[in-house]
Symmetry: C2
Subunit: 303 residues, 2 copies
Amino acid sequence: MNELQTVERIRRLVPGMARSGVVLGIGDDCAVFRPRGSREDLLFTTDMVIEDVHFRRDSHPARAVGWCTLARGLSDIAAMGGEPRFCLLSLALAPWTDRKWLNAFYRGFLDLARRAGTVLAGGDLARAKKVACDIVVCGAVPRGQGLRRGGARPGDAIYVSGELGASALGLEKRSGAAWKRHLRPEPRLELGRFLRTRLRATSAMDLSDGLSLDLRRLCLASGVAASLDGPLPSFPGVTLDQALHGGEDYELLFTVRPGTRVPEWHRGVPLTRIGTILRGTPGRVAYAGHSLPPLGWDHFRRR
Amino acid sequence: MNELQTVERIRRLVPGMARSGVVLGIGDDCAVFRPRGSREDLLFTTDMVIEDVHFRRDSHPARAVGWCTLARGLSDIAAMGGEPRFCLLSLALAPWTDRKWLNAFYRGFLDLARRAGTVLAGGDLARAKKVACDIVVCGAVPRGQGLRRGGARPGDAIYVSGELGASALGLEKRSGAAWKRHLRPEPRLELGRFLRTRLRATSAMDLSDGLSLDLRRLCLASGVAASLDGPLPSFPGVTLDQALHGGEDYELLFTVRPGTRVPEWHRGVPLTRIGTILRGTPGRVAYAGHSLPPLGWDHFRRR
């Protein structure tokens, strides 16, 4: 089973959510909860960062691990057009971590928290053989306004923010500008709100596992196909493979109704049209006339 | 540094929470968030369950691991008198886990979710060398009504629910009634609501790390001392050490104003007076005339 299939199996095991206040459950970037009497919906996302899976002790500075842990969660809030409110951090420390590592981890984490205007409200501490972090971020959107993956319609234009493949290239090179991008991704929070309030995007998600896999997920959620027909906005030096399949860019992938005027830039971040939503087999993505395999990062694929 | 000191250091790093909606941050059983315009406060707790730390593959059935993962989170909601609303589960699967293990894990997890009336709203899946779960539970209480650790006052009576030490004894024996208690703890959700609405408990918390350590935490949060002066309600066969220091019982520890009529039982669970809150060095707990060392479970103590 791959990750999509595993998630789908879990989803089917879960009974109905009627009366619970949960208005969107398993399968989108965030779960959506509607507090009684509130005009806001609350968004919740959770993401794990694990030593030797998502980072390595010898190459990733503690400060970057802290920053990236929170960035992963904030990026999901950005993808739904939300404003972050607070976060919770569970942290299992390995025997090799010391006070210096812990301090640097929290400096990176809290540096981003301050910039994003979110508060660390609690969490859990434990010991384990390897470092494992789990970040939970709560964000808010006006009731019913959160951007979702499932709203793309045939004819919609597909856009992506920023430059693709920088994180994958950085991980390969371990130096230079691409490595800096890998260690310090910028969650696109302001852009997410702009997509929700001004562009009225029909769907959005963040690129955490690579364009090929994430676009497939967006198409599956929307019941549509897609064609990539524009040149991809690649980071300088990136291979086509890295641009198409490289993970952890944390840019936003979104769709807008045909004719929507999308600016070329939003606060210094380029917005590039890369394709069109089509009628067709749900989840099928074409690139340069061929079907594009979803080769992005899947924890559950056999390697 | 021990866990209390580590948590305190992290707490000091975190800037103020003004205007964020977070009304109670790091250090209690749950963080408390007040959604705009809502008459309810939302409670959030997060807890990790890690292979070879909290359970072992060869002795703990997958179904029990799933049940216990959720029970840990629900117990924190119970401790604040809350009603669970939804939960999020992050799960890192190890190479040895198969579909059968995953199915049994979710059966245990969802069995308790159904009984407790909570919904699995989302989460994250990853791969790691060892299984690691992180459970987030959201609960609700009427605005400002959540029970806290910090409200105990000199003269208050100290009570505990259920029988102490069963989980520690079970872990030692790996069979019989105590082992069943270890594998299937019952979060005291109804009791927690009873403490909040009927007994108007002055403080409460759940016993996850052993009476000696958890009572010390309650006293520190309240700025008081305590004396254990009643016989402890121990599970049959439990040693005094297990009753005083054994973790993972998930019973509730609470205090009430002097003269409060506490019933002997609540829905089949005994409630036993075990001591009195005193003026004195904050955190100091006396037992049988001696100072009681906080020997309960501390991830951060050198062993």
